[in-house]
């Protein structure tokens, strides 16, 4: 703690002020988008931990987000609701017994995801690089297949509805702020340094005595914990979830976000989220009728996604480091000057 004191407090106060303002003055649609952004900040920051900071190219977030969402939804739905919703098969008794309040439900989501990550870490980290990517992709996929084919737990493809909603910015924004603060703390701690060492050169890190397996597992599990919570918040925001929400596309979006912002930078993750999620809504016009200089180009649904993939490719080709690279906001010179130099460890 105690490393960047004043800056942290100012940052948090500023953010909270923004939240209060937004919640009370903006219309529902904007609040919805901001909620989305907050949730994705949580997801992006945690995904960044395993991908950017520790350098393990994993493609698993959609799996953990799915787990978090389902656990939260199942915990929040009352027993009667479950009997009503489960159409294909009767809900399993274990599911029926699950009934928690909001905060415990979210915590449970995080814990379950973390436990799954812990179990997966042992087999997954035996491989590296591309293989790791494929294995994590595979697990994410298997989780989805499981969700579809276990109707007594998840109601299959029908999904779950009527999830109690708490869609105000205080929850999502608050948790987002907390996540970022925690992530920054991790990054600047000795664990964070070890993770960066593993990223930069795993063999060298091992040679100087870092237990790379432990570090990777730690990053993976922490990542999963927050991704699970993010998933839970997503379930609450949407009030209805189904397996097809958690496709590879979700991971792809997170990938674009952290690459754009800079792999390894938390500030970058935040900026990336705002750009990508806000951009997706803003670029909606690309899918509708377009009129440029009076020429009616007609409607081409799907153009939005084409533009997004091009952006990703262009960033990878020309600005691989993303906007912030590996640095944080506090590493920029003008920021340091503005807020005075504190002891940066």
């Amino acid at each position: 703690m105690g490393k960047i004191n004043i800056k942290f407090i100012v940052f948090i106060a500023f953010a909270v002020l923004l939240l209060v303002l937004a919640q009370n003055s903006l219309d529902d649609y904007s609040i919805r988008i901001l909620n989305n952004i907050a949730i994705f900040i949580i997801l992006a920051a945690s995904y960044n931990l395993i991908n950017g900071v520790t350098g393990q190219f994993s493609l698993e977030p959609n799996g953990f987000v799915a787990i978090g969402a389902y656990v939260t939804a199942l915990a929040l739905l009352s027993e009667d609701m479950k009997w009503e919703l489960f159409q294909l098969e009767d809900p399993s008794p274990m599911i029926l017994a699950l009934n928690l309040g909001l905060v415990p439900a979210l915590l449970l989501a995080g814990i379950v995801s973390a436990l799954v990550a812990l179990t997966l870490a042992f087999p997954v980290f035996r491989v590296r690089g591309d293989y790791l990517a494929i294995v994590t992709l595979g697990f994410g996929f298997i989780i989805k297949v499981f969700a579809i084919n276990s109707p007594e737990f998840t109601n299959g493809a029908i999904g779950l509805n009527e999830i109690p909603s708490v869609s105000n910015l205080y929850w999502t924004g608050g948790i987002a702020i907390a996540t970022v603060v925690i992530m920054l703390n991790i990054v600047y701690s000795k664990y964070g340094r070890a993770m960066k060492a593993v990223r930069d050169d795993e063999d060298a890190a091992s040679a100087i005595g870092i237990n790379t397996m432990k570090i990777k597992t730690y990053a993976f599990t922490t990542s999963a914990f927050f991704e699970g919570i993010g998933g839970g918040l997503l379930a609450i925001l949407l009030t209805t979830i189904s397996p097809d929400l958690f496709q590879f596309f979700l991971t792809f979006q997170l990938l674009i976000i952290i690459v754009l912002g800079g792999l390894g930078s938390m500030t970058g993750a935040i900026l990336g989220t705002i750009l990508v999620i806000g951009g997706t809504e803003w670029l909606r016009f690309l899918d509708g009728h377009m009129n440029i200089f009076g020429y009616d180009l007609g409607a081409h649904p799907g153009l939005r996604m084409v533009v997004f993939s091009i952006i990703l490719i262009v960033v990878m080709l020309f600005a691989r480091e993303g906007i912030f690279g590996k640095k944080e906001l506090s590493d920029l010179n003008w920021f340091k000057k503005l807020f005075g130099k504190k002891d940066i460890k």
Binding site: F57, F141, I142, F252, G302, I310
Partner: protein, 298 residues
């Protein structure tokens, strides 16, 4: 189940397996020389299928012409992808290449989506392939027989090129150690381009075969098929052409048999490929016939 049904399934499994094999070869060859999992390869197959569809449905050419054009366009796509997206990143960290490949994959899917519209397209199967042949109670279409035969022929040609020609030797050398071989005067980029040409044309043929067997095309069809073909390549031993084919057949066969015996578990069918994938990577990452790439670098 009775013998007849069993035979039916065997033939079916071989057919599906051949298509996986054709596409798996492309993955394995690109990985061999570039150590890159070309996520966009499934889309190259999809592009081939769509071009075939356009030629047959819009221009009403013969199947042969359609296939030819499909191969050309797929090859162009593959080669362009390499030139524009992969070549500039030859020295970049692997993660960048992977992300770029994913980007290209999405780009192709969505471009086809925008260009052709989001609805499924029905592939016009030529009369010849749509007939039913009945031999001793086992019923099938000509497609089911032609696919494995042509796959085998193409495989033979490929193996000949790889092991009996200069270019083939260059490809194999590059797969072994790209840096040293470049120093010895082999133009790596030209050989890499050749690899993409071969892989993409095989994928295009695979796409046409797929369309002939299952005549519904969507822009997103390449995703699952591509991933499964990749799993097949890994299963057989990534980097090995023979392995890719072997993996393709094993996967196709297993999928078909699984559903044939347990159709109530049909929902899990897609997971089989991933289970294979994960098991192989955990138990024997080099696959059945594989070469250990991590060790052969210097």
């Amino acid at each position: 189940m009775d013998l007849l049904t069993f035979l039916q399934q065997v033939i079916n499994g071989i057919s599906v397996g051949s298509m996986y094999a054709l596409i798996a070869i492309g993955y394995t060859m690109v990985y061999g020389v570039l150590r890159l999992i070309n996520f966009a390869h499934g889309e190259i197959m999809m592009v081939g299928a769509f071009v075939g569809y356009t030629m047959l449905a819009v221009f009403e050419t013969s199947l042969l012409t359609a296939s030819f054009v499909a191969v050309l366009v797929s090859v162009a796509t593959g080669v362009l992808t390499d030139k524009i997206a992969y070549k500039p990143l030859r020295q970049a960290p692997r993660i960048s290449l992977l992300i770029t490949a994913i980007g290209i994959s999405f780009f192709l899917q969505n471009s086809i989506n925008v260009f052709f519209g989001g609805t499924a397209k029905s592939f016009p199967i030529p009369e010849f392939f749509d007939r039913l042949i009945n031999i001793g109670g086992v019923i099938f279409t000509p497609t089911v027989i032609i696919v494995p035969i042509i796959t085998m022929i193409l495989l033979m040609i490929l193996l000949y090129v790889l092991y009996k020609t200069k270019y083939g030797m260059a490809i194999r050398a590059l797969a072994f150690d790209i840096k040293t071989v470049s120093l010895m005067g082999v133009d790596a980029n030209k050989i890499i381009m050749l690899v993409f040409i071969i892989g993409s044309s095989l994928a295009a043929v695979g796409g046409i075969f797929w369309a002939l067997s299952y005549p519904i095309l969507t822009p997103y069809m390449g995703i699952m098929i591509g991933l499964k073909a990749f799993a097949a390549a890994v299963l057989g031993g990534i980097g090995s052409v023979g392995g890719a084919v072997l993996g393709g057949f094993i996967l196709g066969f297993t999928e078909v048999m699984f559903v044939a015996f347990y159709p109530e578990l049909g929902g899990y069918r897609d997971a089989i490929a991933f289970v294979f994938l994960i098991l192989v990577l955990l138990v024997k990452p080099t696959g059945i016939m594989g070469i250990n790439f991590e060790k052969s670098r210097f």
